[in-house]
């Protein structure tokens, strides 16, 4: 059978969520140990003749048996989750209680609970995203650190602090809690940042990046499938991810080079993902509230609906960016808006808009700020100024992909081929702040 690349991670996350509920969040570390042991055994066994068909059920059973042992061994010495309470005191109730906890539907709710728990308002956004990656995507410290371009030691510190705070909070988030909706917005935000990190992030590892996108999509799918969480904003966020993911394969060419929206071979866009994204976008169009996800998904939808960059309705995209600037203004949104203006009204207008961006301090280290200046200068016919900006952009490039992309632009300018390549697609979306 063809394995999906994230099988071990996904199963680990499921088991961890359920074991954490069984043991109580204060015993998170114990739950992590049990997951580790269970998977390590499976991995030894399956290295011979492969993963068996009912792997998910097998793993759940193995984890459940380990949990039974843990309860028997430690029921007097350790404090477990209040909801298992006295059920663990007797063999009569212990096994049925655990059997119920490991039913497939219960497993799904546990992942949601864990997701909402990780997005506790007391934890900062960076912490929330790191915890989601660690506990719900089962990425290790080094793997997360490399995705975020921070040192493993710093990530280790962030995660252990986060886990300590979770353990101290004493309970997992209940999906029936009164603050479900506010917490849902925090979850949206964390998943949005997670997807962004994969799509536009700084990590040089292409593989890590695609994995992050897929993880975000898997988790947002859990929200879509859980009725109370399937709000218009959830659909909009999912639509945004699906529409952008449809373009992923066209975004990197066979040599690993970034391609901007103008150069992309649109026949490489994934039709299945596009269709699903469009369907999700339609489902998001109910209710009163217009979120930033609606607007961004709308923009992504405008791009994917156009047969070519030339046929894109840039005027409408400018309007959507105007709305986005009202809902969630940021210098990067402003920069994206300028690119759309340049497409719509010409490079001089675009340049004017870039120079009018008020707060550029957050753009100082952002390679696509000078890159946009360079492109627009170039299109205004001022090659020398363009060259300077592009050199600056190359200096700021955060990984080899970006560097190669910018070097190609510089080389094209040198050769006197201004081309029609533009940067819209490699611009990070509004809130990629890292």
């Amino acid at each position: 059978m063809k394995l999906d690349d994230a099988l071990f991670r996904r199963e680990a996350a499921r088991l961890l969520a359920t074991l954490t509920r069984a043991f109580g969040v204060e015993n998170l570390a114990l739950a992590e140990d049990v997951v580790q042991e269970t998977l390590a055994k499976a991995f030894e066994a399956w290295s011979y003749n492969g993963v068996p068909p009912h792997y998910s059920a097998l793993l759940a059973r193995a984890a459940k048996n380990r949990a039974l042992d843990v309860f028997r061994r430690e029921r007097t010495a350790r404090k477990f989750a209040p909801e298992v309470g006295r059920l663990i005191e007797s063999e009569w109730t212990l096994r049925p209680a655990l059997d119920a906890m490991f039913l497939p539907d219960a497993l799904k709710d546990d992942e949601l609970r864990m997701m909402f728990t990780c997005c506790h308002p007391r934890l900062g956004e960076d912490m929330q995203v790191a915890l989601v990656l660690h506990l719900l995507c089962s990425l290790g410290v080094h793997e997360i650190a490399s995705a975020f371009l921070v040192s493993p030691a710093a990530m280790e510190k962030r995660l252990s602090r986060g886990k300590k705070l979770l353990a101290e909070s004493g309970h997992l988030f209940e999906l029936t809690a009164a603050d479900f909706l506010p917490r849902l917005s925090a979850v949206h935000r964390a998943l949005y940042l997670l997807f962004n990190e994969g799509y536009h992030g700084a990590s040089a590892l292409a593989v890590v990046r695609e994995d992050l996108c897929r993880d975000a999509m898997r988790l947002v799918r859990l929200l879509v499938d859980h009725a109370p969480a399937a709000t218009p904003a959830t659909y909009a966020l999912a639509a945004l991810m699906w529409l952008l993911a449809a373009r992923l394969s066209a975004r990197i060419d066979h040599a690993g080079n970034l391609k901007d929206l103008f150069e992309q071979d649109r026949s490489l866009w994934d039709e299945g993902l596009l269709a699903e994204g469009t369907r999700l976008l339609e489902q998001s169009a109910s209710g009163e509230v217009l979120t930033e996800y609606h607007v961004e998904a709308g923009i992504a939808g405008m791009h994917t609906a156009a047969g070519s960059a030339g046929e894109t309705r840039w005027g409408h995209i400018v309007e959507l960016y105007d709305v986005l600037m009202k809902i969630r203004p940021s210098p990067v949104v402003a920069l994206n808006r300028c690119m759309a203006i340049a497409q719509h009204e010409g490079p001089a207008k675009g340049l004017e808009a870039v120079l009018a961006i008020a707060d550029t301090s957050r753009l100082a280290a952002y390679p696509f700020y000078p890159a946009v200046l360079g492109e627009l200068e170039l299109r205004c016919g001022r090659t020398e100024a363009a060259q300077g900006h592009l050199e600056e952009a190359r200096r700021l490039a955060r990984n080899d992909g970006e560097r190669r992309f910018l070097e190609q632009r510089i080389a094209a300018v040198h050769a006197g081929r201004s081309g029609d390549a533009r940067l819209t697609n490699v611009l990070a979306p509004p809130d990629a702040r890292r």
């Binding site: 071990f8 991995f43 290295s47 080094h142 793997e143």
Partner: protein, 113 residues
């Protein structure tokens, strides 16, 4: 064709992330698939429990614990591989991922009359 038991001997693995487990498993499976495709796989064989074992010493059932915790290369499992001779068996083992993990392969021909 002769049959050889491949005894997989390696140290116990350090803790790994799920991703690392999957990647390592994929390498092991790729080797088996290759053997199968080339007609060398007689039996996948079985992995063995790494941490527990008994060495029975006498008829009275006296035993000691084994394998031995300090041993660098515990027998972690066995497989049955068909090869023309030792040279071929060794050649087949060349790309096995166990070497990346500090392990060795003990190749023993099945005794023939």
């Amino acid at each position: 064709m002769n049959e050889f038991v491949f005894l997989w001997r390696r140290p116990q693995r350090p803790p790994r992330t799920p991703q690392q487990m999957q990647e390592t498993m994929d390498k092991y499976l790729a080797w088996f698939r290759d053997m199968e495709a080339r007609g060398h796989l007689v039996q996948y064989g079985q992995p063995l429990e790494p941490k527990t074992g008994r060495v029975v010493r006498d008829k009275a059932g006296n035993y000691s614990d084994g394998p031995y915790a300090e041993t660098k290369d515990i027998v972690m499992g066995y497989s049955l591989i068909a090869a023309k001779d030792f040279d071929e068996a060794i050649a087949l083992s060349k790309d096995h991922p166990i070497f990346e993990e500090g392990g060795v392969i003990e190749i023993r021909p099945i005794l023939k009359l």
